[in-house]
Symmetry: C2
Subunit: 329 residues, 2 copies
DNA sequence: TGAAACTATGCAAACGTTTGCAGAGCCGGT
DNA sequence: ACCGGCTCTGCAAACGTTTGCATAGTTTCA
């Protein structure tokens, strides 16, 4: 039923080699025959079998993406970038969601390894020892995780954190809470690092947490924050920030009048919240695309091209309505 | 470098056939040798090459999922279900996002066809004629779209719509607006159908739209609604509902006191909005799983098992804080 | 004791490609 | 007239599996 290269060859009156070459190395076959072959192929609806091709070339034309949790709105956006760029580069993408489970993530990489030319690990939750076991099984590119000299695209939050701090300082805040994310998270470590770098003598930072990076953790965080007597909050991510705002509303603390709130990620709902959330936007989609670029680069240039193994993407503070000058005490 | 079945055979001192059988038809090989083979395979880190296997069996062990837009939070949740169930059934999933573009969607199906055993089309945007061209190229399962007698899992909104109407009626609303989604959308047609079925003599329905199923379309819709003088709104989906609420807030119309709002989908941010949105919850994740079940069923049982080609999932009204009794006029 | 029936294994062909090698035809230079 | 080189094409081997057929060994039963 499926039409193979043989069918095309027979129909076109040439050998299979010629058909194959007409597709893969066009300049090796006479223009005239080539056109003929292409037309017959088109007419028969021929599509090369990538599996068979992969068998001999050793390349599959696929790669994998593993994300910790599809229901975290951060990931679909980077996935979208990965997906788009992959299609442009004529790759197909395998998707897997490891449910925030490092062991599962490792298993997935191993399962994928044979079917793909490389894997993009998005905010990988694996431990270093788990990573050691998978590095080398296939080409890996990381997003938002730095592991030795593996290629990675990083959305370093330091710049965004500085902008957030400066923004709050300019508004007049002098005592600000930072709500930590998961303590094993690379992102949280980087955000804290950014926080320390941005430290100012005229502002006191109160660290709270760690909290799960989810809406549900917000209320607990909010209660702790209120007790601290700060005038502004920087949350590890938007989900947490939104959870906090929800609880603040319940407790009658007006945002932004009595409490300014800043998030991280600029997930779609950040702009839809009431009040719309001031947040640090990551270039997720571009990160996805960049990861693909890194990967294809890694696969095509053979040698140790120590060049651009790493891509750093700036982030950007987006000021919306959840921040303003602190209330007079 | 990669370890093949040959390596295992040599190392274990048996033929490749035996190794192959030890994995695929365990009862054809003596338990003792089988254990031996399995251990050597494990020791060498052997993983069967699915492409090679697929070449001969005609099955790839993969399937594809195509969604219209990953940044619509509705889809990642069903994707999550697909993904999880697929892994349980030992399938790998290809993901593609067609950017709401029907032509692109068709091209994607065709491109995938050779690499997968079947494709799940989520809220397909294809025209009937486009569908005709792809039906038959590979096994298809639809989610939220009914096309002839193709297998499909449908989240029929009729029940949810009735619940929504009854809920609003019970609160005392007598004039309610329905905000249409895209008019080519199966979901919108079904929701309207549910609306008519749920019609009551004591309630007047005002239809508006169509609107894009996005937050950005909300403000426009909200302005129209206000002019209509209704006391409650049922929106095509949550995104639209949230956009409406945002605008209502801007225009000083209090939700729910002056205007009740009901959405559809129960996307994550519905529960996080202020006020939390009353909405009709779909069983997205279950829908994803069901689609996979349908597909594997379709692939394993050969004959025309006219049995369960269709799966209907009930939906459920979730009452939150965006609906209440109408203000006294 | 011998045939029949199993059981466990190996051999080799097949799946749909790509690609090294070789041959055929042609052109230009001597 | 011959040779070297170039251009185009075909043959056949390979990729890593699965599987029909054959074979050798073992058991069962009359």
């Amino acid at each position: 039923m499926p039409v193979t290269i043989q069918d095309v060859a027979r129909e076109a009156g040439v050998s299979v080699s010629t058909v194959s070459r007409a597709f893969t190395v066009p300049d090796l076959v006479k223009e005239e025959t080539r056109q003929h072959v292409l037309q017959t192929a088109e007419r028969l609806g021929y599509r090369p079998n990538r599996a068979a091709r992969g068998l001999i070339t050793g390349k599959t034309g696929n790669f994998g993406v593993i994300v910790p949790d599809l229901s975290n709105p951060f990931f679909p956006t980077v996935l979208k970038g990965v997906q788009a760029r992959a299609r442009e580069a004529d790759y197909a993408v395998f998707l897997a969601d490891c449910d925030e489970n490092p062991a599962e993530e490792m298993a997935l990489v191993q399962a994928m390894a044979k079917q793909v030319d490389g894997v993009i690990l998005c905010s990988s939750r694996m431990t270093p020892s788990q990573l050691d076991r998978v590095v080398g099984t296939t080409s890996l590119v990381f997003i938002n995780r730095q592991v030795r000299d593996s290629p990675a695209v990083l959305m370093g939050p330091a710049g965004g954190m500085r902008q957030a701090i400066d923004h709050l300082a300019a508004l007049g805040h002098r005592r600000v809470a930072y709500l930590n994310g998961p303590k094993t998270s690379w992102s949280n470590r980087e955000r804290r690092r950014g926080l320390r770098q941005a430290a100012r003598h005229d502002m006191e930072i109160v660290e709270l947490g760690p909290f799960a990076p989810r809406f549900e953790a917000g209320p607990h965080a909010a209660d702790l924050v209120i007790a601290e007597g700060v005038t502004a909050i920087i949350a590890f991510n938007d989900l947490l920030a939104l959870g906090v705002m929800s609880r603040l509303a319940d407790r009658g603390v007006a945002v932004p009048e009595e409490m300014s709130v800043v998030g991280f990620d600029d997930i779609p709902m950040a702009g839809m919240a009431t009040p719309p959330l001031t947040t640090v936007a990551m270039q997720n989609e571009r990160a996805g695309r960049a990861a693909v670029d890194l990967l294809v680069n890694l696969l095509t240039v053979s040698g140790a091209d120590a060049g651009d193994l790493r891509r750093d993407l700036e982030c950007q503070l987006i000021v919306r309505a959840s921040t303003t000058v602190p209330a007079r005490s």
